[in-house]
Symmetry: C2
Subunit: 389 residues, 2 copies
């Protein structure tokens, strides 16, 4: 029962590892996830985003706000291990589907609740999206160049982070039941903003201990030099991490600058960092005289961590990415062959697999309602008329 | 056996939920994690970073490159559920500690292997850090302003992402054994770059289907308007998400601009996006006339998702964050009271807990080697002399 990103993403991973995932769509409407980032003319129910994370899932239509729909949900819950929802906190309760009711229907249920700000606290009722959560959580403030406005990380860190934490929560709760043998479920309260907090790393300790407010440093990392993005002769950007003593020694060899290695101003990472305004332009001048290919060879042979900034085309056509089969292709009945992210994490004995293309709206009504819940065709007709499915 | 961020982070979460985590440090040296982002003069073994993710852990010294050390590791493995390592692929094998040897010592072992580019593939031997992985994975290319160089997300998305995937992998493998009753472990191959791939969302589908290379859009989100960061009268930045029809209607009310709501140029999200160069400045002009407090009240009352860009101080002193207890304080013997991220995910029945301050180097040698492995004080002395511990 979770639209947008965190829920669909989390359930797609659980599905890859064998969960039977049933997506609940509201009848007569088209969910945000299905149209996110633009309708495809070919099919109003299937956006590129939907295709990305709907593989292997089933779809039923269900309006839990009707009394018939509420009853159906409780019957489904009785036959399920996990329910994922991403409504505003209090919404399930208002529908008579709070934890008390759900737990009564299935004491072993694991309920994953995803929200912008969590189920409690003064801001819990606020609407929250990924980029709002990132702003709130401090992640935006540390991204961008120091002399410019902050900028949001270009990917949905809070959405995906919440999905990943949610997966961990579901697995912890399921493991606990297997481990203790007691069929007692529980509730997981996962917010978007909290998902990214630990990514702030040691910033809270620094603030508490030194009153230091970590700021944004562009492509550099505080206290570490030389490192960052450097422009190449062919106009691209190379991420080079040459700050550790070993990497630094390698970088001076790649640059054919043994003098830098013994230069007192650059003799330790602390000194290099203190003198980074002097050091960074030296590296930048060097990279501007070399192509990506030249830099890549030189840096690789000297053991300096480095990679050119790749776009989606570079990435998807990269030999390593192809060798690792990071993208698999699903045959979609409407779109044809579509890439999907391969299963992650990579387990060698129970590796999981990517299922078929995402379902059409209500494609599995018959299977779920008749075969799983035992309703008749006549029952379904009544439910349809009542707008419950 | 994992230094830096992904491993220590993943094991800290597993520790919060009850795992006994033993950190293996190389004798006679100070690990990167312990000094990351600057030595604290008070104690060379405890950096702010180390304090952040070492809580509740034990520390032993062990050099597995010695024959005695290798044997000790295998004895430890025999008594462990999980081993986490983050060496360059092939390193464990070179030490005679590949999966074959480890599995022989404990067939139920779960081995989490963290690396920059994964255990296989042509780039597997390359050194990789978070920001290098982000550049490779395409995340950097989509972060920043369109008319400026790309910029790295200011947080370690790849490191933390790999940690989160790693946690999921460990739990999947442990669950599988509980579920099947078969004590067969497995290997998890988690790379930094793959950890962030799904965050690219529908970019692969768009590329495959339309040849479209997703670029960076600053604070805007492609195909969605109005939204992004807007400057306030008090010189701060407000993230406002006013693109959905409901949010957009709310925004026009907050702005007291009913004319915009019926303006044909802004009548749907598609139209608003097409005319965003016209629309964005209208919103920006409005926000520049209001303080954060005024905007927050107006947007909240009209249901528009919004949050000011907070820095670490704003965050840690925010009433909602305090109410949620997002930070807990650990009494450190050297540093005094230090903030730690509270346990995540939030489970209501098995909530876990944050343990005491991080261990000193080798603090638990006696407990682990004598009490767990049954060695004598004389044995330890021999091992110390051999440089194995």
């Amino acid at each position: 029962m979770a639209d947008w990103i965190a829920g669909p993403f989390a359930t797609s991973v659980l599905g890859d590892f064998g969960a039977e995932v049933v997506r609940i769509d509201l009848p007569g409407t088209v969910a945000n996830t299905r149209v996110l980032h633009g309708l495809e003319p070919a099919d109003p129910e299937r956006s590129p985003f939907f295709a990305t994370f709907a593989h292997g899932k089933k779809s039923i239509t269900l309006d839990v706000r009707t009394s018939e729909g509420r009853s159906l949900l409780l019957q489904l819950v009785a036959k399920s291990h996990v329910l994922v929802e991403a409504f505003r906190p209090g919404t399930l309760e208002a529908w008579g589907l709070g934890w008390d009711e759900l737990e009564k229907a299935n004491p072993a249920l694991v309920l994953l609740r995803i929200s912008g700000y969590g189920q409690t606290g003064p801001w819990s009722q606020r609407p929250g999206f990924d980029r709002v959560a990132q702003a709130f959580a401090g992640v935006t403030s540390v991204t961008g160049y120091p002399d410019q406005p902050p900028v949001r990380p270009g990917v949905g860190v809070a959405d995906y982070g919440a999905g990943l934490w949610g997966i961990a929560g579901v697995l912890l709760a399921l493991f606990d039941m297997k481990n203790t043998g007691e069929p007692r479920g529980q509730v997981i309260d996962q917010s978007l903003y909290e998902a990214v907090l630990p990514m702030l790393c040691e910033a809270p300790v620094r603030f508490k201990r030194h009153g230091e407010v970590v700021e944004r440093y562009g492509n550099q990392v505080r206290g570490v030099a030389p490192g960052g993005l450097f422009e190449t002769a062919d106009g691209r950007w190379m991420q080079i991490s040459g700050s550790g003593d070993v990497a630094w020694a390698g970088l001076t060899r790649a640059m054919e600058r043994p003098d830098l290695l013994v230069d007192e101003r650059f003799i330790t990472n602390v000194r290099r960092d203190e003198n980074s305004e002097l050091l960074m332009p030296i590296v930048a001048d060097w990279t501007r005289g070399k192509t990506v290919e030249e830099l890549d060879q030189l840096l690789l042979s000297e053991g300096v961590p480095a990679a050119v900034v790749q776009n989606i085309e570079d990435l998807m056509t990269h030999p390593h990415v192809i060798d690792r089969e990071d993208f698999v292709y699903i045959e979609d009945p409407i779109f044809g062959s579509l890439p999907a992210y391969n299963v992650q994490p990579r387990l060698n004995r129970t590796p999981g697999h990517i299922g078929g293309p995402g379902p059409r709206l209500g494609e599995h009504n018959r299977e779920i309602y008749q075969e799983l819940l035992g309703l008749s065709e006549a029952d379904l007709e009544v439910l349809r008329t009542a707008g419950a499915i």
